[in-house]
């Protein structure tokens, strides 16, 4: 679909939008039977995979290099999630991006992205995984920079690409380590073998893979690109930066968990990084004015949660949260898009009272918000609780405390957002002609909302499906987390309920506020370290321009000089040639005589 759209001229493709939507629907419909086919298998399917295709790519040295597509439990689940969210986004975009001049291109890249993501989840070996991973990075770059005439979008897309690229370097090194150790990229070969590796090697490989995952999934300190990526179109953000691409890193770690388990250190690192990310993501979300940025930091925080789940050793916890998060976060983003579309602003300070004008949006958005805060009976409650539960099982009390605190902050900032946007006096001049979004935007949101409500109850089934037990959280944990969530909501209401501003908060805790507002000055740190690197780059550049170009150009110049000199021989005059011929003849005779020893 991408190739086709790429080749078509703009006006033609702008009218052919039904094609990618049809393709996406087809993909979604296909993924359901695939999922159902794998479902009954459960544990066994998780290990062996239901179906696979291998494409041989030749050999490296003596070892065979194959690209494998394999459908197993994880792939099937992810396929359904990805195609569903992608379909929702595509239908939503019909309305949101209506009238956009380059809409054909938008759909083309969206299609390419979805296919790349599907390849990532279907990959049966690390190499194909990596290649599809890179394509996703490209699409992210293209979509963030969709409105490339805006400098903000340009910079953000480059930033996103570069930061994830840094992670990808680690990923590539990890691939090299795996190849050197096992001689194959195939998951079914590498993962069972991982248990037999020396801890050092397992750690090295795991860390390198973790590097890649951190870049893609916006873990601290690679999270800096995600908030800026909000310069792209909102539905694209919903798909890529909430539900799918950023989840790819989580997926990588989940797939590679045997390697992490073989190296205890790496697993611990995952837990630690996840916790830090969850916490700082939540804190930064509390002080943002832009709706999308709040959601972006929230995503960072939730990704941290997924890493916590994985770091606690439970694939199910991480992946289940991935699934629920995909649904409710994309729902939230689509809702935000709906609001932005109606009010023409992204700044929360200019919103308020939306509830009166846009009931459906309010309803669906609230479902998403409650799910995110972890309130019963929405899915977010189940998945978040599962993660907290896993922490308890590991007796990781400190981490548990921090995660719980982050949950409190999550509820807090969502409440803040909700109050600011939906309740109170409207502060926006567009408010009067704001209207509810049309069906194309509402239906996807509605579907996602329903899923958000329902999916949570499937936790036991999903657990069995994904290979480890999933259970309803026990009473103690459940009450603890629910209390925390309610506390968060209460706190939010307290501080913002009466339409009070953040001045109170700021004045009381100005230092903390400063630090959190400025993203912990992380960007500054990056800038200063980058400055040194820049001088190195300049030096290398000089070398390249002067020396290497000198050699290349020098060859050309020398040839020309030589040619000019030889040209003098070609005088065009008869006698010159005669003289040369005679001289040559004499020379030959002399040489012949010398050689014969006369």
């Amino acid at each position: 679909m991408f190739v086709l759209f790429f080749l078509l001229p703009r006006t033609v493709r702008n009218r052919l939008l039904f094609l990618p939507i049809a393709a996406m629907t087809a993909s979604f419909l296909l993924s359901i039977p695939a999922f159902l086919a794998v479902w009954p298998g459960g544990e066994k399917a998780a290990d062996e995979g239901l179906w696979s295709t291998t494409y041989s790519m030749g050999t490296i040295g003596l070892k065979q290099l194959d690209l494998i597509l394999r459908l197993d439990a994880y792939s099937a689940m992810m396929m359904v999630v990805v195609t569903l969210v992608a379909l929702a986004v595509q239908i939503y975009s019909l309305s949101y991006m209506h009238g956009e001049e380059r809409i054909g291109w938008y759909y083309a890249v969206l299609s390419l992205f979805t296919s790349a993501m599907l390849l990532v989840v279907l990959a049966g070996d690390y190499l194909l995984f990596y290649m599809a991973w890179e394509v996703m990075g490209l699409c992210s770059y293209l979509l963030i920079g969709f409105w490339f005439t805006e400098p903000a979008a340009r910079n953000a897309s480059i930033k996103a690409f570069l930061v994830t690229r840094v992670g990808d370097v680690g990923f590539a090194i990890g691939l090299a380590i795996i190849w050197l150790t096992v001689g194959s990229f195939d998951f079914h070969v590498v993962l069972p073998a991982a248990a037999t590796w020396a801890p050092g090697i397992a750690t090295a490989a795991a860390f390198m893979l973790l590097f890649g995952a951190m870049g893609k999934s916006a873990q601290f300190p690679f999270h800096v690109w995600l908030p800026d990526a909000m310069a792209g179109p909102t539905p694209a953000s919903a798909l890529i930066h909430a539900a799918t691409m950023v989840a790819a890193g989580v997926f990588l770690v989940a797939r590679s968990l045997p390697i992490f388990i073989a190296s205890g250190v790496a697993l611990h690192a995952v837990l630690l990084i996840g916790t830090i990310t969850a916490f700082i993501g939540a804190t930064m979300a509390c002080v943002q004015y832009d709706i999308k940025k709040v959601l972006a930091y929230s995503t960072i925080s939730q990704l941290g949660y997924m890493f916590i789940g994985l770091g606690a050793g439970s694939i199910t916890a991480g992946l289940f949260h991935l699934m629920t998060h995909a649904f409710f976060k994309s729902l939230l983003f689509l809702g935000a898009g709906s609001i932005i579309h109606a009010l023409h602003t992204q700044d929360m300070r200019e919103m308020g009272g939306v509830m009166k004008k846009m009931p459906w949006t309010t309803a669906t958005f609230s479902v998403g918000a409650l799910a995110l805060s972890g309130i019963l009976p929405f899915s977010g409650f189940f998945s978040k609780d599962f993660i907290l539960d896993s922490l308890m099982k590991q007796h990781a009390y400190v981490y548990y405390a921090v995660a719980l605190l982050s949950a409190l902050l999550t509820a807090f900032y969502m409440t803040r957002l909700w109050i600011r946007v939906f309740v109170g006096e409207p502060r926006n001049e567009n408010f009067d002609h704001a209207h509810e979004s049309d069906l194309k935007m509402l239906v996807p949101m509605g579907v996602l909302a329903i899923l958000t409500v329902v999916v949570g109850f499937g936790i036991v089934a999903m657990g069995g499906f994904l290979g480890s037990e999933g259970e309803f959280p026990n009473l103690l944990a459940a009450s603890a987390s629910t209390l925390t969530a309610l506390a968060g909501i209460g706190l939010g209401w307290l501080l913002f309920g009466g339409g009070r501003d953040m001045e109170a908060l700021r004045s009381r805790h100005s230092l903390v506020y400063q630090m959190v507002s400025n993203k912990y000055y992380l960007d500054h740190v990056v800038d200063t370290t980058a400055a040194d690197y820049l001088t190195l780059s300049k030096g290398v550049n000089w070398f390249d321009k002067v020396v290497i170009n000198g050699v290349v150009n020098g060859t050309a110049v020398t040839s020309r000089w030589l040619g000019n000199k030889l040209k003098l021989m070609q005088t065009g005059k008869l006698q010159t040639y005669q003289r040369l011929a005679v001289a040559a003849a004499v020379l030959i005779v002399v040489i012949a005589m010398l050689m014969k020893g006369v």
């Binding site: 070609q570 005088t571 005059k573 008869l574 006698q575 005669q578």
Partner: protein, 103 residues
């Protein structure tokens, strides 16, 4: 002293070199042709002398010299025709001015 074959060979060589010098350094095309003619005749002398002194019965050299004289004559006719045509084109017979093929 007895005149041997060496004498004639030296004579031929001298004439040849003179002709060569003329062919290489004369400006006029006609003079170049004269020098070429001189070279050809030097060779004729060489041939006849060798034949006379080494294999007088066969007379190969003499035959060949006659052939060469005929060829030389034809060659001169052709060459002078060329010079004539050249003069009609460029109004000069000096070979210095023929450098259109200069590279």
């Amino acid at each position: 002293m007895r005149v041997g074959v060496e004498f004639f060979i030296w004579l031929a060589a001298a004439l040849f070199v003179l002709g060569l010098y003329g062919a290489l350094s004369k400006r006029s095309a006609v003079m170049i042709f004269m020098s070429l003619e001189l070279m050809a005749n030097a060779i004729n002398i060489n041939l006849v002398a060798m034949s006379r002194f080494l294999t007088p019965n066969l007379m190969t050299g003499q035959f060949f010299a006659v052939f060469m004289m005929v060829v030389a004559a034809c060659e001169i006719g052709l060459g002078l025709a060329l010079v004539l045509a050249l003069y009609r084109q460029t109004n000069t017979i000096e070979v210095e001015f023929l450098d259109q093929l200069k590279g």
